[in-house]
Every structure is written in C-alpha cells, then in structure tokens.
Assembly symmetry: D2
Homo-oligomer: 324 residues x 4
C-alpha cells in the first residue's frame, strides 16, 4: 500500500531533490507539490526528466488548509518561512521539515538519523539537520561518545557546493562570479552553530561545546566537506575503530582510512567519515563528507520519513553515488 | 531469479557507470569485474560508495577463459581492444559491447534501443551505439522515417562532456587545461561517422547519407548535445509531431517544445529531442541530448541487456535525472 | 599626455573588463565611472584588486549632463538602454558603444577593428560589434573577400561562456543550474543576426546573406567559439592562405592550422581563426575564437578607442592570454 | 637596456605563467626557454597566444652548459629536480628558483618578497616560497610581528586550485574526476610545512612554531585560500590595523575588512589578507588569498627578480586581476 506524500518548496534545490528521491521510492506516492515561484506549472515543465506518471501533476501555491489527504509532508522552505504555516498542518499528517525553523524546537525530534534513529521512530514531527551539521555531527559523534575529543575546543572548517546557498537569483551565486572562486563567509556567526552546539553537548553527556565554525562556498554544485580540528589524545586507529563500532549496523555511514572526497557521495544519501590524529600534539582531525542535497537535505529527510513511517530505513535510498 | 552479469573494463568511466546501474538493478547480480589498471583492488577501493554487498568483490585481470559462469557480459574497452578477446567468450554468454569494435559487425545487432528494440530482442551479441550516434540518431530517426529531411545533407555539430574522452591521463584532459576551455577536434574525420552514416541510410530506406560531423569537448563531466542542421520543408510542428508519434510508446525518449539542455538527462538513461524548422529556408534543426555515460554508454547498454534477457526494458533504469 | 576616459555601465561584466583594460592602458586615465547597481560605491568596493590610484573613485549614477570633461566615453549598457542617453553626450566626447543600440545606426561607424580599421580612424562614434559577430566575422571576412564561400548559405553554430548572458541575477545563470549544463537558445531569432547579415553583405560586395545562427551557453565564464559551416570549393590550404594574407599586418588575429580553443584567447584581445575544407563536398568549415569579454566586448572597444584617438592600435592590449 | 632572461621548466604551469609575465615585462627579454616535454617545439606551438616577437623561439632541452648568456634564470622544476643542475649555472647568472629545492638552503635567500624585500635585494640566488606558504605567511606576518598570536598553536586549513598539483597526467587530476570534487590530502605530512615553520619562527623572534596544515584540492584552475586558526587575544580591528601598518608601503598586499575570495587575485600578483577575531575565546582567524600561479609562483618570482635586478618591484606586475 502506498504512502501519500506531499512536498512544499518544490521550486528550490532541496525540494527538487526530494522530488527525485520520492519519485524513485518504492512506497511513497507523490500526490501534492507546492511552490512559490513555480505554482501553476506542471512538474514536467520544471523537471523535464520527471517520470511520466508524475509529469502532469500541477504545482500549487501552498495552502495548509487546501492540501489533499496526506500521510507525510516534506517541507523545504527558507528559514523563517515555515513555522507559522506548518503549525496549521493537520496533526495526522507526519512532517519532515528540511528547513531550519524547527531544529530543537518543542515537539520536534531532531532528525540526525544515522546517530539517533531510535529517537526518530514513532515521531510525527521531525526537524532535519542542516547540511553543515549533517556532515560535522556524523564525523564527531563516535569521538564524542567515546570521549576521544574535548567538546569545548572544536574548530570546523567547512566547504559546501553552491547549491547550498539556495536557488535565489543573486548574481554573486551566478556562474560567472562563482566559477574559479572560493569564498569564506559568515565568520563567527553562522546560523548552523546552535544546532551543532546543542547536539555536541548531548553527544558528550552534557559538557559545554566550544565551537569555531567557518563555512566556505566552493565552485561546485553539490558536495560538502567538514574538516574538523579537535583536541584529544587518541590515535588515528582509535578514532577509526570508534567510528566503525559506532556505525557498525548503520547503512549509510562509511568509515574510510583515507580522507574522503565529496564526489564519493554525490547524488546519494551516504556519509563518509575519516580521521587523522597525532596524540603527541593533542590533535584529532575528523573529516565528514556528504552530498549537501542528499544526506545534507532531501536524502536524510527521506531517511527520516522512512523511520517515522515504519519502513526499512534504506527504502528509496539505495542508489550508488554518481561517478564521475 | 537473478541474472549473473560481469563487467570488463571497469576501470574506465563507461565501466564505472555500468557498475552503478547494475548495482541498482532488480534482476542483475554482479559476479565478475575485470579491469586493466584496477586489477587486484576490491570494488570498494575504486568506488567508495559501492553498495556493501559488492564492496569486497575483487577486480580481476580479464581472461575470457577464466571467467565464472555468466549470463551477460558488459564490455567497455577502448576501440580496437575488444574484438579478439570477445571472440573467445563462450557462446552461451550474452554480450553487450559498449566499445566500438562491433558496430555493424557480422553477427552483432546494432543496439539503437529506442529506435529498433525489436531487432535487439532475442539477440545474444549487441553492439552499443557510440555516444554521439546515440544522441544524433534518436533525434533524426523520426525525421528520416517520415522523409522530412534529406539524408544527403546533414551537418552535425556535437558537444560532449570530457568524460567522453575516456579516462586516460593526458594532461590536455586535466582540470587545469580543460576548465574554461571549449575544444573542437577531429574535423572531417571522426570515428563515429560510419555507424551514423550506415544507420541513417537504413532509417531512410537506403538513400545515401551525406554527413558533416564536428565534435567539441565542453568543460563539463557528463552530457552531450547534438545540434543538427538538415535540409527539409517541414515545419517545427510537423517535426515535433513526427517524433511524438515515433516515440509514442517508448519509455526513454522525451520530445520537448523547447531546446533541450544537457543537465536534463544527467545521470539517467533519458534522451531528449526537439526541433526548430523554417520551411521557407529549407531548414530543419534537430537537437538531441543524452548523458554520454547514460544513454550514450552504460544506460543504453543496460537497456539492451534488458531487451536480450526478456526483462522489462526499463528495469534498473527508472531513476530520474540528478538536478541540479 | 593622458586621455581622459569614462565608463558607464561599470556594474556589468563588459564594464568591469573595460575598467581592467583601461587601468592597464598607457595613455588612458579613468576619471569617471557610472553604474546603476553600484552607484555610491568606490571602485575598490566592487573591484578589490583595482590599482591603488583608482581605488577611491566613486561610482556615480549616470547623468550625461553631469559628467566631468572627457575625451572618450565607453558605454556598456543593456541593449535598448543607451540610445536616448548617449544622444545627450556632448559632441566633443568620443564614444565607443559596447552595447547593441548603435550597430549600423546612422552616424556610427561599425567597429570591426581587425577588418576595417581605416573606416574607424577619424570617427567619433563607434558601435562595437557583438560578441558572436566578433568571432564569426573575423573568421569569415577573408573567405568572403576572396569569394571562397557563398554568402547565401552560412550556418553558424556558436558557443559562449556564461558571462555573455550578462550579470543579471536569473537563477538559470546561477552556478548550480549552469554548471554541467549546455544550453542552446534563441533558435532562428537571435538579436545578433542583423549586424552579421549586414556585414557579410558588405564583405561580399553586396550579395545577399543567408544565415542560420544557433547560440549555446557553455559552462565556462569566458570564451566564445563559432563553428561555421559554409558552401565553397576551396581547400583548407586556400582558406588558411586567404586568412594569412588578409590579416598579414594585423596585430590581433592569429591564423592557426589546428582548430582553435577558447582558452587560447582568455583574458586577451586576440582572435583565432582556422579552417577545414573539403572541396569535393562543397564544404568549408570556418572557426573563430575570441574571449567574449575581450575581443567580444571591452578588448575590441579599447582597440576602437585607440583607433579613434590616433594611438597605436595595440596600446594597453598587449597582454598575453591567461593560461591555464 | 633590456635584461636577458631564461626559463627552465616552461612545459609546466609555473613556467607558462612566468612566460606570460616576462612577455609583458618592460625590462626583461626572454632569450632562452627550456622544457622536458616540449623541447623542440616553438613557443607558439605550446602557447598559441604568445606575442609575435617570441613566437619562433625554440624550446630546448635544458643543459646548464649550453645556455646563451643570461642575466636571470627562472627555474620552475619539480621538487628534487633542480638542485644538482642549478649548481652548474654560472655564478654570474642570477637565479630565482620557483621549485622547492632551495628554500632555506645555504646561499639562497628566501624570497618572501612582500615581507622581507630588503633581504632579497642584492642577492643572486633566491628561493621562491611555495604557494601555500605565500598565502599563509603574508597573512600571519603582521600578527607574528606584533605578537598578536601564539606561534606554537596555528592550524592552517588551505585550499588550492588544481593547477597547484602540477601538470602531470594523473587521471585523478583529470576534469571528469576533479570537477564537482573537493579533496583533502597530505594530512599531517605536507611538504610545505618546514618552510612555514622556519619562517614563522623567524617572524616571531625565535619562538617555536607549532603547525597543523591540511591542504585541499578545489575544483578550480587557479586560486588559493588559507584559513588560519590561531590563539590570541587581539580584536579584529587590532589585527587589521597591524596588517595595514605592516604593509603600509607595500604594493601587492591588500588588507580587506571582509573575507577575501580567490577570484579577487586571479591572474595577478596580489595578496589579500583579512582577519576575524574573538578575544574572549582566545581566537584569531587569519585569511590569505593568492593566485597560486601568481603570488604563489611566477608572480612572486618576477617580483623577486625585480628586486635582485634593482628594478622597480612592480615592473611587469601591475596588471589588475581578471574578473569575472
């Protein structure tokens, strides 16, 4: 029996990736799509390669009161845009919020699916982690769980593809200005800091997190790498072992001996983690790679939807990464 | 019951894409992988995101005499490298040759799957079309079938992503020299000409083909567009109608009113065709877009394997394109 | 003695490139810069690497009545935006219009500088050719002058980097949607057709031009290639000879035996032309490469300004291309 | 009077950029070019846009004993390849070694030209800094000079364009594998560490340097950014002030309030530095941007050559960056 799902925010990159994954999903049936800038178009007008059975679905302007009966709603809206409207969605509709408004909000589970699947199962409201936290926290979780690093001294140097900046039309994200350009931004003030700090504190049993976080825009469409500098006395082998134990029965996290590359995850829901440590220098470098639209957005959202719908966690997410 | 398949040439881009598609296929089980430069490695060493069940398969040096029992073999070898060795493959093993050695060779079906599926079903040896022919011929077939253009005067201006040049290490295909560079090559002499000419003659009922073909390397990894200038008195509408009729019951060809873009097909087996015509000027412009590694190589190969194995043509190929 | 110059439209890519070239020019002194979206900023705010002596110049909102005394004005405005305002510029100010409003307009010389320098010298109003015409006409001029091709049957398949689409903020020119994408557009209707047709007629002594022109957007910032299919009975050698004679004493056009690549011209005012012909098939392929912001815009504009100011044609334009 | 210069290693990217800069230089005359893979070719065969006066110069196989009389030799050879051969160059020939063999070697000045110009003037043997050190040390020098950071705790997260990996033909630097890919490498072991440590110690008056250095390959041709995490109690304003004082009379270093982007320096010899600090957290983030082939290689080499030849430091290096 199919599960009826809807997407709001389908004009954006996260919404578009949710469409691709849902279209391939064995149990989800897309019955509703809403978007601001594309309202009135058919899906095929916006996504020329959409499967034929979905081609004629007309994108609507979102109105929580006028949605058809749904089992699950994926919301992919700009931060600040979703809280009020999502409050009007009927309680019986499960929601995965890919946007930023409900992370650690009252009544919402934080959907760090590879780390805390059991806290997500059975929920009806899940806030998907941000793309930077997805890569960072998956890399740090095993180290924090095993007390291999100090949560109070973590430097996160993160790099994302430009789809992470959203689909607005600012010329600074235009091809001509972005190609051959590498741009640090948001120093000492990025919006993803609080959810990372809160999660790190929970993972470390309550110790206060001390984070430095510097995001960079890299001239590529997809892909996200966090290179994370920590204090700790563990060896590289101890870190890798901790991660292999932590993720032993998890489907999507790959622990690698060599530093991961963003292309390894492209188009998939995979998360790669690796480590390089020098105990004499009190140094652990953790690395996390995701596709910012996959595990960093729509992939983890579908994983969360699988968890709250009682489906196999991997349903619809088994595709290998696209290479090259 | 699963069908046992092997890949030779897995070190190259075509072989790697075949791996991705076979790993996602509901009926194919990969039991053998061979490659020159990667022999001795496990699949996971070369493809870090490969599904866990295939991770440990060891890549072998190809020896037709030492292969395990196979139902289907995908061969993705450089032109000139496959004919002698493939002749030694047992007759009971079906072969799809992605390389160029058997196109219009004796005993081999030409696998233009969207145009001639019935000529492929029941065969045991299929030669996959080249990437340029795949895009070009899908666009031209309806026009030739309906006699809307003159086969003797066709100018094909084709543009491919750099994966089309193969995975050799020539520095001219290096990132630094290829990025921000657009390169015409092989003027008046490209290796793909004969198979296009032969196919065009067959599609037009025996009229002699007259082709000009100019390939260009474009700074992108995947994607292929053929812009084709023909003589003919049809209108744009007549061309589109002809294509919609020709491909009415075909799963992978999309006929669009607007000029297709390469990203529409990325990561998929789709083929987009469109037309713009000016009958007063005796001009028909046909456009064909494919992913050069999808419909242009491994995608069409899997489609051909489905046809010769009696499977649904779309098995394992239903994934929507990756966007953006 | 320095020549006082101004730029209007400095917010755009053409204006920015004019700034770079003028900043390096031995005789031009920039005393005025105007721009819509950047008015009120200092040059250094918009162009962080601008030479220190120009850093503090404040960009103004353009008002022809409020300009300081100028010898030359470079106008780089969207088509349709410049005609009325430029009419109000004092007659004593020489103008090079990089925009499209004055090509073959009354009272304006058409600034095809490598072909017709003598028609430009002594003028005070010059309309710079469009980027596609710059590459195309430089490649065709020698063939037309020597009657080696038929002006009535010319197919131009042109490819440009994305800076050619201007600096607007449309998300379709955004990095995420443009990278790994190749896009044909404007079939049978492009705005550059009339100036090409008029010029071809003049170059061919009045014969009617018959043009097919298909532009494509290529995922690169700069660079433009026109691949041009003509009817003619010349050999490759005859075409190359004709071009070498035609451009024998010209500084910026390079005639090459091998097909030119866009990177060869990057950041320079060079124009590369080459040819491949098959007289038995009545076929001549001409190729022209330019940097769309160099010879295709600001480079040729400075060359034109040099010509009308009586300076050496190469002043400020001698920099070799940037490679890789 | 012109200064006679030669380049060895002209086949590589550093050598090619040296050619471009020397071709534009008002006092340098290129009379000799040597290269391994391009020996026997004329310059124009390898660099189609080279100025006409240099086009016919034939590239030779390097033999120190068979060079013409030279005033300055630029050596751009792989690390390990230059020491023995350069020892055979006549003493009267000044040498700037762009390669890595002579950094802090006996008898060679370390050519950190923006920081220590006076130590370079009057020398005859200069070892050019590596590309990562160039960006890093220019950013750190003012902080170290003013004791604003602790030299013992410096984390350098560095990102370079792919031309930084050299021009070898490894397929991992190929376009198809590098595009849409971001790759950390050489963790805890990079070859550029010793020269950075030594320089930091000298800049800080002998305090021991403690460095963590992680380089990353970014999918762009040129450009290099170092994001550097330091311990210190200074404010952002104090760091910016220190840098503005330190570089007050220097031509090529720009101190910016906002984080620098790699495109700001593209094609130029500029170096951008900026800072963001949080004294309460004992944190100073320093950022340095260069073009890895400009200030990171050939640009600084020409600057060093100017210094040792008694020319104006900026000769031939005044071109503004290429944008976009």
């Amino acid at each position: 029996m199919s599960i009826r799902v809807g997407i709001v925010g389908i004009s954006g990159f996260g919404g578009g990736e949710a469409l691709r994954l849902i279209a391939n999903h064995p149990s989800f049936e897309l019955v509703y799509a809403a978007g601001e800038s594309s309202a009135g178009s058919r899906l095929v007008d916006r996504f020329p390669g959409v499967p034929a059975r979905l081609a004629g679905l007309v994108i609507e302007k979102w109105d929580p009161a006028a949605m058809p009966a749904l089992d699950v709603l994926f919301a992919s809206l700009p931060t600040g845009a979703s809280a009020a409207a999502l409050a009007r969605v009927p309680e019986g509709v499960k929601i995965v919020d890919i946007g930023g408004d409900h992370r650690y909000a009252e009544g919402w589970a934080y959907g760090l699916a590879d780390v805390w699947p059991d806290r997500i199962k059975g929920q009806t409201r899940v806030a998907n982690p941000g793309c930077f936290p997805a890569a960072t926290l998956n890399a740090l979780a095993p180290l924090l769980a095993d007390r291999l690093i100090e949560p109070g001294h973590i430097v996160i140097d993160a790099k994302t593809g430009i789809s992470g900046a959203g689909r607005g039309g600012d010329s600074k994200f235009g091809y001509a200005e972005s190609n051959e350009n590498l741009q640090p931004y948001g120093l000492l003030e990025h919006v993803h800091m609080p959810e990372m700090a809160t999660t790190i504190e929970r993972l470390s049993g309550g110790s206060a997190a001390g984070l430095v976080f510097t995001p960079h825009l890299v001239p590529m469409t997809r892909g996200l790498l966090a290179t994370i500098y920590c204090r700790g006395r563990a060896t590289t082998g101890q870190c890798l072992d901790a991660a292999r134990r932590f993720y032993a029965d998890r489907a999507f996290v790959r622990v690698t001996d060599t530093p991961p590359q963003t292309k390894w995850a492209s188009g998939s829901n995979l998360s790669f983690v690796s480590y390089a440590a020098d105990p004499e220098r009190n140094l652990v470098i953790a690395m996390g790679v995701v596709d910012n639209l996959g595990k960093g957005a729509a992939g983890q959202a579908v994983q969360n939807a699988n968890l709250i719908c009682g489906l196999p966690e991997t349903a619809g997410l088994e595709g290998a990464p696209v290479w090259p």
